[in-house]
């Protein structure tokens, strides 16, 4: 017998858009269930710069997206300040970049309504000392950095507080039962227990990003057509810029450096891939990002990087458009699927992290109308409240908290990021998606565990021991969780293994093999070794 759920709206996909849809529905009093085949932010929502675009990036290519970014970023700075570091940004051209492109920038900004202030090279270097002497043009724009993990957690957390809904991680859609032009049942599988799950909903929303075409096809809809553009980024061990540093040239590799608390993120590559699954950052992409980035910020050549990661941008294929990730539209699209003969299904995809709220609003407008709900959207006016178990994803937050509390008995489990025992306890107890035998990976997603210089070498063992001690783990699967977590961390570390980060991994292997024997212990997830 399958586990059964009934609700008004099933939202598929725990990315920023799905989380935004869940909150928007909750604010309009509409019950829903949010599912994800993995966990929150597992796709592009967790695989990006964390850049809250002023819109400057798109002024030359897509004025409409640029203006949307401007409106949405202004709104989010006001309504969700806890997720945002309003650090500002600069666009800089260096010797060798096209001076005409640079000269046109202020006019393009003006057309999209984006504030833009010209800086002399000296002013630019005063603002961002990491810039080189070769700066030929510079403009300040209201870019900011945003913590996508916290943003998602806060959206889901607020929705859960409003009630009448649920978030279920690791539930994968296997198919839809369609009757009389409507989805009656969504057949799913609990990827952790293997159990069959059936969800009966009046409306189904697919907010599955790069997987939206596949999900739509499961419902027999051929109208969603995507290009998959893989973007790879690297994370430094320390913060490099004061604010966002963009290269003032047509978008290319390694041309955006975004601070994220105590670290910085450099990206991205843009590689068209045929399959959004099983993507990994490569050494070649890392080398390319780094050599391009170093023209703009020379210190990057000598910077220690702790990790590389990637996401897949779901780009909308437009009729006759060539399959080039950089030139395709960064806009979003809402499909009502009525032309495909389904009356209670909608797909929202494309777009940017910066515009997630607007995407959710448009989607819920459609769904609410179909349900006969006339409550207005409130996400453009209602501030996003802060949840207590949700504030641990920002680099530096746990360390600040620990120092302020000065409680010597609250031992630090992760020394790189100063994550204390109490933080892990609060996540296991209260964070959205908290569950029995919660995986290290799920705890790490909701904190900075495993994200510092040691990339999990020490904290994986300490947190696992603590979870056994606290009775959260009560069987041998704790070791399997540790192995899975370490295996997953390694994928991101591998492309940055040289210089100072390499000995760290050597030590990690000494501990993981010599002290924990994990190379001979089975994991829970397939990792290609068995």
């Amino acid at each position: 017998m399958a586990r059964r759920y009934e609700t008004d709206v099933l939202v598929i996909g725990g990315g920023a858009t799905g989380a935004g849809v869940m909150r928007d529905l909750a604010l309009r009093g509409i019950p829903c269930i949010l599912i994800d085949r993995r966990d929150l932010a597992a796709g592009a929502s967790g695989g990006n710069h964390g850049l809250l675009h002023s819109g400057g990036r798109y002024v030359a290519s897509d004025a409409e997206t640029a203006a949307e970014c401007r409106r949405e970023s202004e709104l989010l700075k006001r309504l969700a300040p806890q997720c945002i570091d309003d650090c500002g940004g600069v666009f800089v051209a260096v010797e060798g970049d096209d001076p005409d492109y640079a000269r046109a920038f202020p006019d393009h900004c003006a057309a999209a309504g984006i504030p833009c202030e010209e800086l002399t090279p000296a002013q630019a270097r005063k603002r961002e000392p990491a810039l080189p002497d070769s700066v030929i043009a510079a403009y300040a724009v209201p870019d900011a950095s945003i913590d996508p993990f916290r943003l998602l957690l806060e959206n889901v957390g607020h929705a859960l507080n409003l009630g009448n809904n649920a978030y279920l991680p690791h539930i994968e859609v296997e198919g839809f039962e369609i009757d009389n032009g409507a989805i009656k049942t969504t057949r799913c599988r609990d990827m952790r227990s293997g159990e069959a799950v059936e969800i009966h909903a009046k409306q189904v929303v697919s907010a599955t990003g790069a997987w939206a075409e596949r999900v739509a096809r499961m419902a027999g809809c051929d109208d969603v057509q995507l290009v998959y553009s893989k973007g790879t980024l690297i994370i430094s061990n320390t913060r490099i810029g004061n604010g966002v540093i963009n290269r003032l040239r047509p978008p290319g590799d390694g041309d955006i450096l975004v601070p994220g608390g105590t670290v910085s993120l450099l990206g991205t590559s843009s590689v068209t891939v045929s399959d959004p699954d099983d993507i990994h950052p490569t050494n070649e992409e890392v080398d390319r990002i780094l050599s391009e980035g170093a023209d703009m910020v020379p210190v990057l050549s000598d910077t220690r990087f702790v990790r590389a990661f990637c996401g897949v941008r779901p780009l909308l294929m437009e009729k006759g458009a060539e399959a080039d990730g950089r030139k395709a539209s960064r806009g979003f699209a809402l499909f009502d699927h009525e032309s495909e003969g389904i009356s209670n299904f909608a797909t929202i995809t494309g777009g940017k992290l910066t515009t997630f709220r607007l995407m959710a609003e448009k989607t819920v407008d459609l769904v609410a109308a179909r349900l006969g709900n006339t409550a207005p959207c409130r996400t453009a006016t209602e501030p996003l409240p802060s949840g207590d178990a949700l504030r641990w994803t920002e680099p530096g937050a746990a360390a600040r908290d620990w120092h302020e509390r000065a409680d010597a008995t609250d031992t630090v489990l992760c020394e790189c990021e100063m994550v204390a025992r109490s933080v892990v306890d609060s996540i296991v107890a209260d964070a959205p998606g908290a569950e029995d035998h919660m995986s290290l990976k799920a705890i790490a997603l909701r904190s900075r565990i495993g994200k510092g210089a040691c990339q999990g070498a020490f904290c994986a063992m300490r947190v696992t021991s603590h979870l056994y001690d606290a009775g959260i783990y009560d069987g041998p699967d704790g070791l399997a969780q540790m192995r899975d977590f370490i295996t997953e961390r390694y994928r991101g570390v591998r492309p940055v293994l040289w210089g100072a980060q390499l000995p760290q991994t050597e030590l990690a292997e000494i501990l993981h093999v010599g002290l924990a024997g994990l190379d001979m212990t089975p994991g829970k997830e397939k990792d290609g070794t068995s």
Binding site: H280, N283, E284, D287, L290, A408, T409, T411, V412, L413, F458, M461, R462, T464, S465, H466, Y468, D469, G471, Y473, D474, G475, P476, G478, L479, M482, R483, I486, T487, Y490, R491, R494, L497, W498, G499, L502, P503, E506, L507, E509, I510, L511, H512, V513, G514, L515, A516, G517, L518, D519, M520, T521, G523, D527, G528, T529
Partner: protein, 436 residues
């Protein structure tokens, strides 16, 4: 203050203060050589304390390390172990263990088979020799003895519950308890601090008072490795008498006591035997000459020049600084000895962390001849008087093979033997000094 300078002349200079370096100093001293050992702190605090010889091959654990070594000579002739006979390796390990025993840290003798040593997370590890303080745990597990595992409040990365849960199926007689270490209750505690504290009688008394009521039916008690720093066997015996049960230690996360014990013991014992030891200094430069080498070191207040008739490089791998890398290359840091490597960084690491074949980079290192002399660019020894030992040698993966201590000790033995042969020959008359 003015910087001073000092010159040392020696027959055998050892660079590195890990197990390979300490073993080389012991062996060289035993052969009557004049020895000077230098190096910074090294990675010895990362050891479990177990002396592994060969515990795994190609993703499978080994019971019989000696048969494993025989197989290695055929299957992997480039492996450093293939340059030594089993008898030599056995002699090397036995001599090393005898020195540890003399120095006050009891270790079990070299046996015919590996033992299944306990690890903190409830997995066992095949190893050759273990500290006497850890041996009863192996026996208790084999006998299924009623055993109490005790962890300490505020000690990170060690949970009695975790140990018990993961071993419960094989060892049903396990129970767990937790206690607050006397005088340290509540806060984060470190194994090193507890170990030093247990060297005082008052702490042992208080600790035994806390342990005794927890015993119940248990005949054995397992603790994280904290039973003293300088005299662990005496600390254990005293506590056993106080509680009336057999005690054993389980390794902990680094920095861990068993490795610190070894380092402190050597730092005390080697100078006492007349070996010059400069343990906190990093060698800045090695200049090879025809009849030896000159080592340059810069201390905080003085510069040291060591003129050595022979040099042993036991500088370890990346973690200890013997090897280094950038995005394109791996190199040896002191002499820029050739390190054979693939053309691209893509081939350093496998796609999957726990790939049973291990990562290629772990086998990079310096190539050596039969006498453990590193080879130069022309495939010939870089110098007849330069030797190497331990993890810096290419063609092994000591972490996956569980062969770290064995490799360090055996290659040190082989290198010292070869060095002694060279040093016994009369010095060439046409040396630079004689000509000048």
């Amino acid at each position: 203050m003015k910087r001073t300078s000092r010159k040392i002349e020696t027959e055998f200079a050892v660079v590195g203060t890990g197990i390979a370096g300490f073993a080389a100093s012991l062996f060289a001293h035993a052969r009557g050589l004049d020895v000077t050992q230098v190096g910074h702190s090294g990675a010895i605090a990362y050891t479990t304390g177990y002396l592994d010889l060969l515990g795994a091959r190609e993703g499978a654990l080994l019971d019989d390390p000696w048969a494993g070594l025989d197989a290695l000579r055929t299957l992997a002739p480039g492996h450093p172990f293939a340059r030594l006979a089993n008898d030599d390796i056995r002699t090397a390990l036995s001599e090393f263990i005898a020195a540890l025993n003399t120095g006050g840290i009891g270790y079990t003798p070299v046996g015919a088979r590996n033992v299944k040593a306990l690890l903190p997370y409830g997995v066992t590890k095949p190893t050759l020799s273990v500290p006497e303080t850890m041996q009863p745990g192996i026996e208790a597990k084999e006998a299924g003895a009623p055993t109490l595992i005790v962890d300490i409040e505020g000690l990170q990365g060690f949970s009695a519950q975790e140990f018990q849960t993961n071993l419960a199926a094989e060892w049903p007689g396990l129970r767990t308890a937790k206690l607050a270490f006397p005088g340290l209750d509540g806060r984060q505690v470190f194994p090193e601090v507890m170990a030093r504290s247990l060297e005082t009688r008052a702490t042992r008394e208080a600790f035994a008072e806390l342990l005794r009521p927890l015993l119940g039916e248990a005949t054995h008690v397992g603790l994280p490795a904290i039973l003293g720093m300088r005299a662990p066997d005496a600390v254990r015996a005293d506590l056993e008498e106080r509680i009336g049960a057999t005690l054993f230690e389980i390794p902990t996360m680094p920095p861990a006591v068993p490795g610190i014990r070894l380092r402190e013991m050597f730092e005390q014992a080697l100078p006492a035997h007349g070996i010059r030891l400069e343990p906190q200094l990093k060698v800045a430069k090695v200049d090879l000459g025809t009849d030896g080498a000159r080592l340059t070191l810069h201390g905080p207040m003085e510069d040291i020049e060591i003129d050595a008739a022979s040099v042993l490089l036991a500088t370890g791998r990346f973690l200890s600084g013997g090897l280094a890398s950038d995005r394109q290359h791996v190199w040896e840091t002191l002499l820029d000895l050739p390190v054979r490597q693939p053309a691209s960084r893509d081939d350093w690491y496998r796609a999957t962390y726990f790939d049973p074949r291990g990562h290629a980079i772990n086998r990079f290192g310096v190539d050596v001849d039969e006498g453990f002399r590193p080879l130069g660019a022309n495939g010939q020894p870089a110098s007849p008087r330069l030797f190497s030992a331990g993890a810096i040698i290419s063609g092994q993966d000591w972490v996956r093979e569980r062969s770290g201590a064995g490799l360090a000790i055996a290659t040190a033995y082989g290198a010292v033997r070869a060095a002694a042969e060279v040093l016994r020959q009369p010095a060439p008359r046409y040396s630079a000094g004689a000509l000048g």
